[in-house]
Symmetry: C2
Subunit: 285 residues, 2 copies
Amino acid sequence: MNETEFVAALRKLPLHPGARGLEDDCAVLTIGSETLVITHDMMAEDTHFRPHADMADVAWKLLASNLSDLAAKGAEPVGVLLGHSLGSDDARFLEGLEQGLVAYDVPLMGGDTVATTGTSTYGMTAIGRAVHLPVPSRKGAQAGDGVYITGPVGRAMLGYEGDPEHLAAFNRPVPRLAEGIALAPLVSAMMDISDGLLLDCWRMGWVSGVTLAIESALIPVADRDRLDECVRWGDDYELLFTAPAGTALPLRAHRIGTVRAREHAPLLLDEAPLADPVRLGYRHG
Amino acid sequence: MNETEFVAALRKLPLHPGARGLEDDCAVLTIGSETLVITHDMMAEDTHFRPHADMADVAWKLLASNLSDLAAKGAEPVGVLLGHSLGSDDARFLEGLEQGLVAYDVPLMGGDTVATTGTSTYGMTAIGRAVHLPVPSRKGAQAGDGVYITGPVGRAMLGYEGDPEHLAAFNRPVPRLAEGIALAPLVSAMMDISDGLLLDCWRMGWVSGVTLAIESALIPVADRDRLDECVRWGDDYELLFTAPAGTALPLRAHRIGTVRAREHAPLLLDEAPLADPVRLGYRHG
């Protein structure tokens, strides 16, 4: 089974109403008068990081990728639980984890530590408190809305390749927590761009039942000569969102297109329909 | 680093008040008027299950071990998030997961699915709602209390060895959810016996600052001739708890000893002090 098939099978299991049909990045749990946002992300050696990666960067990124999911829901972090495989450079892992927890003022709540015999796999569960209701979703983009991103894509790709100016973008990504909280009351849909801009635009269009018409000239990219790669590479952790025309945004964002009623494909790039998500971005499995 | 060293280092990181100093099985999160209990457990190939294990059993056990932690807090399950490594028999994994979710009426809330290149590691986060406050802890055993367990130990060991009568005890353990909810208002301390009875008694005595004086003749075991092994093997998922003398218990439990003021060691077995937790039970790493 690949990831798409596996997730399709998971959707047939008994789901919590807050699971949002497993079509969003987080679960939303209403408890009394409060609403929690809960996410779990994993990182596996070879798939998400190289065997000789600095484990401090791996720990930071594990935390950042989870917090980025909270950011996309406009949630403020409450705490995280760590699932740790012993065996790589655990001391460096702890250093990076501590730096991240301090940087984002997020406490550790618990977790589990196991010995493994093969490659290392790490998991993290992040819990946040929703600041605005309803909690933004990938679903909700409406015809006529503008499509925006909070910053350029492609920086992580250049960092991965060794470009000193962009190393931090790959190794120490910054979750857009403040931006997510500021945007939550205004957006019609929001998600983070962890798997590549085009793929995530396709997904937002698909699940919202609309078409996102994107103009490549409007997309801020780290390297204009490599536009095709920049819009397909993942790991940038900017926020992708839609908002009604005329919305006064509380921060600087880049408008990259417009939402239309569903056409043949959920995504148009410079008017060319992209109906098939394969090769639009990064997909595991 | 081994597990003990790693967890000691984690305790120096910024901790959530509900993390209970990472000395308990779960985090306790108060949200408005409600209290949630949150736990994360992992299972790794070779360490927790054999490479050719039936993946339906692995999925069941992953769920059961997480729900067992909720049981020890007297919490009723709200939902779980799954961290899944693709690549083993994913279809069988899904079957076992579904059986467990249906058996315990627990919905899936979300999670993550990754491709891995080596051995498989699975993680699960379980969220429960506390039924009684304060939420029972490992800490709290008082001199004079009785020490109890809800059922025999050693069944999982015999099942692991292939004894047909006990296969289910190893492959399909049953979390003591109803028992935990019934006991929570009455106990002074409670935990599940996932790592072996003696080790878990030692831990409860240690963290409570008391000595648990256990009598081997009182311990219900699956095979009396192999008492030493039965009390050291893990995976039984019974509940270990202490309660004030004279407490009328709402269910049948086995009294295996008495809590005393702290003596030299946190655990006495037939009056012999067991000061060092090494070799008392199952410890990873």
